[in-house]
Amino acid sequence: MTEALRKHAWTMGLLALLVVLLAATKLIQPSFGGPGLESLARAALPFAFATAGMAVVVIVGGIDLSVASMMAVCAVTAATLMERMAGVPAIFIVLAVGLGMGLLNGALIVVTRVPDIVVTLAMLFVWEGVALLILETPGGATADWVEDSIRGPFLFGWLPKAFLIIALVTAAIWIPIRRSKLGLSIYATGSDEMAAFRSGVAVGRTKIAAYGICGLFCGFGGLSLAALTGIGEPVPGPYLLASVAAVVLGGVVLGGGRGGLLGPIIAVFILRIIRTILTLMAVDPNVTTIIEGTIMVAVVMLGTAATLRSARR
């Protein structure tokens, strides 16, 4: 029990911070309630998927700088397809496109033996270009039911559908993987590639799979962008740096092998709610940038200091 608590201390701390921030929001704006939560969850949607994907590749010991570009490709694919065909097959095609892009990223990393950061930096441009080739200018359309599926509450008045989608999708993808041999291999490869190889892990295939999972999450991210806006935009949004920040805030160690998906996703909500609070308080937007940067650094500093202390016994 205490073991589990110690292992998940960081995630628990983040959860507590999120609750405190939610309470603070309620204090600042007493009318904050169901709709507020709902728009918070919707805003978190693309960030959560980008972060989940990034977390998986960071755990395997890599990094994917092309997440935002892949999301743009998926968003424009979704918007162009849904103009022409039924929503459900279009969704599957988009997810397949995302998965394919991720697998290609991974395969290039493994085959060329060029470091991940370089390959995905190059692929950032490639996917950005591909998005522009698919849709030269913002446009396309999404099926109405797709837009409705992320809007509004689910069953009870206060549980946003968007939140449910984040929870279901990440759980449906990650929990089976985490439980399987693949999940172990992902952690093993990120922790010590050489030892993993010698323990019989197919390191190359594991990496490719991890990047594929990242691509799949980017597929969901692109779909959620299309569903949010109703169109497809070929220009990558601000999801790259935000996802790296959320991953690190969420307790995944850059370099691999440690952390999970829950922490980073909580971190996404924390970062979103901070923005909401700053808007509610009518803080000067320039100062907002300073505050966001400071909070990011301060939280990580606190966390690092805490782990250093506990590591020192």
Binding site: Q29, S31, F32, P35, G36, S39, R42, A43, P46, A131, L132, L135, E136, T137, P138, G139, E147, R151, L225, L228, T229, G230, I231, E233, P234, V235, P236, G237, P238, R272, R275, T276, T279, L280, A282, D284, P285, N286, T288, T289
Partner: protein, 323 residues
Amino acid sequence: AGGHKSYTIGVSNTVQGNGWREQMICAMRAQALVEGDVANLIVAHRNTDSAGQLEDINNLIEAGVDAIVLNPSNPDALNSALDAAMAQDIVVVAVDAGVTAEGAYILSNNQEEYAYLGAKWLFEQLGGSGDVVYMRGIAGVSADTDRDNGFKRALAEFSGINVVHEVFTGWQQDQGKQQMFDFLATGIPFDGVWTSGIDNVIVDAFVESGAPLVPIVGADNAGFVQYLTTVDGLEGAAVTNPGSVGGAGIALAVDILNGEAPDSTTVLVDPVLWENKTADGRATIEGAQNPNLDPEWPVSVTVPGWTDYSMEEIIACEGPGDS
């Protein structure tokens, strides 16, 4: 506006760190300050995409604003949030570019006209035939697409005009300058340059490389307007594209809140072209100049008939609730 009411107005903008947008925000602040009825201005101003703007608008609704003035990142993408706002009787005014949400007011610079006007002037200067360089903004962004439509319309009217280089500057000074150096170096000759607002570095590129100047069309940025009168041998035109349209948006929002809504929900602010080839044109430019202004700021700091603030007030860039 009679009896003092106290409105809270929300502002949403998705490009930060660009002189034009900074002027727009300052114009909004200044106008809100001079409007007696605005008690508070909440500004959401950052670099983000349409999804991020949706988030900001929802946050503004959550903050209980009476009106939202936004520079939309895309005409179609924001409808869900804008509909939600209008369902709560929040007034929505889009400035700079339009939105398709039913019931939203639009007070926009006519981007298609902006490009058409400048391109037409340029093509006329060349006598209807010649080679031009076409320096666009950011690929895949609405404003760039609108301008491209205007440019193409003018191009269709002049069959003798040929585009030898088309390139995206990303609305970045350094990129534009470097690209112009590259064009000059290739030796493929051209007779004129149309720019989407990255203008004075283009002039610099000609001067620094010693290449003979060709007619150049830019925007009414302080730096470029100054060049139009000071650089020897430069023939050029500045097309107005006032960032102060933001101030006009605030004025419109207050009018609507006070029950003085205009008949049409769409108001287009048409651009004006200032060229330095005629005495008249030069006089206009001399009058508009302001050497102390941030060179990225448009020199047309007011929209006559809409904005009420003074030069000092927009430069102070303070809104209600500040200080």
